[in-house]
Symmetry: C2
Subunit: 250 residues, 2 copies
């Protein structure tokens, strides 16, 4: 399935996590906010580049991106979340009815993008989505946005952890090297089997939990900071761009 075919299927109503879909194509987190909040989102991203690597920013009212000509950001993701004053008010497969002419859409790199590279390097991955956890680490705030770091976790065989670091460090635009390897309690995660987002994955004997900064972090900032309005992707249900994973490899 190509990226365009995947987007067309979502536009037609398919709701599914996007891990592993249209392999080789860059996936992105979405956060769309009113124009008068767009500066805060960009500043928050600049101050927290590991969880929030910005891939593209639309002009206000324009639901299109240079990363996928012809795509419509209002319909071409499998699932959206709508936030009012920091509270989740809707989760839906089509955001058209909620879209506003003053929205600026910010597309943020997603770790699904480096999964092809990990697989190509001989690192096995499991699961149809990825588990994500809110950590005890605070992001560097802006005057109006603050919140915790969110991480994704993948179990990696101990002998391949270094290889996984080597592969992902060369892709800083899609979160880069892990932020943490091993002991989840150090991140304030008490139970790996109960992720805050996504689907839990078993850690098998000989595997180490490896944590990468996650593009759901801006959603956590929305929850904590309560901007008046935002539309985001649903965790794990990403925007699939036409850009190639290799475009983001150093």
């Amino acid at each position: 399935m190509t990226a365009a075919e995947a987007r067309a299927s979502f536009r037609s109503g398919l709701v599914t996590p996007t891990a592993g879909m249209a392999p080789g194509h860059t996936q992105a987190n979405l956060i769309a906010v009113p124009a008068d909040w767009a500066y805060d989102v960009l500043l928050f991203a600049q101050r927290n580049p590991k969880p929030c690597p910005v891939l593209d920013v639309t002009d206000a009212g324009v639901p299109h991106t240079a990363l996928a000509p012809g795509a419509d950001l209002r319909t071409d993701l499998p699932a959206y979340r709508v936030w009012v004053d920091g509270s989740l008010t809707a989760e839906c497969p089509d955001a058209s009815e909620f879209w506003r002419d003053d929205l600026v859409a910010v597309l943020i790199g997603c770790s699904f993008t480096f999964e092809s590279a990990l697989t190509a390097a001989g690192i096995p991955l499991r699961g149809s989505n990825v588990p994500m956890y809110v950590t005890n680490r605070s992001c560097r705030p802006t005057p109006r946005l603050r919140g915790p770091l969110v991480v994704s976790m993948r179990p990696i065989p101990a002998e391949l952890v270094a290889r996984a670091v080597e592969v992902t460090r060369l892709m800083p635009a899609v979160h880069g090297a892990p932020v943490h390897v091993g002991d989840p309690s150090e991140l304030g995660i008490t139970d790996l089997s109960r992720p805050d987002f996504g689907i839990s994955v078993e850690i098998r004997p000989g595997e180490v939990p490896v944590f990468w900064a996650c593009g759901v972090t801006p959603q956590a900032a929305v929850m904590a900071s309560k901007p008046p309005f935002a539309i985001t992707h649903a965790p794990g249900h990403m925007f699939i761009t036409d850009a190639l994973d290799t475009d983001y490899r150093i």
Copy 2:
């Protein structure tokens, strides 16, 4: 000379290009604009990451940066330029009298930062400043900011060009790999001996001119787009941070 000592000497009135000063410490371009233009600068930077890698952004009215605690961005650069409606109205060693409470300062990576790495890799560099050229390439615009790509040029022995690429590609936060190697006419540069900024450097037999994206690009956007007010560094006269060059190496 440490970074703090260099800043103190500039605060005391020393005016000099900063190439080679406080080696090992990251140098930065400065562009300070009124808060209502800060979004445009960040968006322009996001859309043009090679010339405009953002290292830090201050809150409005705060002339201090996390990259050099104790430093004052109004006084601690060797030379400033003051812009009104896109026209250069002053060049001065102290910007205090021009500073405004609504200014947001954006610090942008500088290729001086990778000069230590080039030298350590056995690549000889010459000159007390670097020549910079306005090219015929347009940056990707924002609704209010547009302008040409500016590049810096270093003559590199032909057999070391590949090595120079290898070294600098691992430092994307300070412009990364060159944008062009060889023929300057392709960039619209008709005479290498007459740079638009900085000091010309002779190309010796066996050397190739190598061009990196340059943090003076936002100044060129100011000239082209005429925001009502801006303060920048004078080309080649950078802000020397406490951050280490190696902090920006992948």
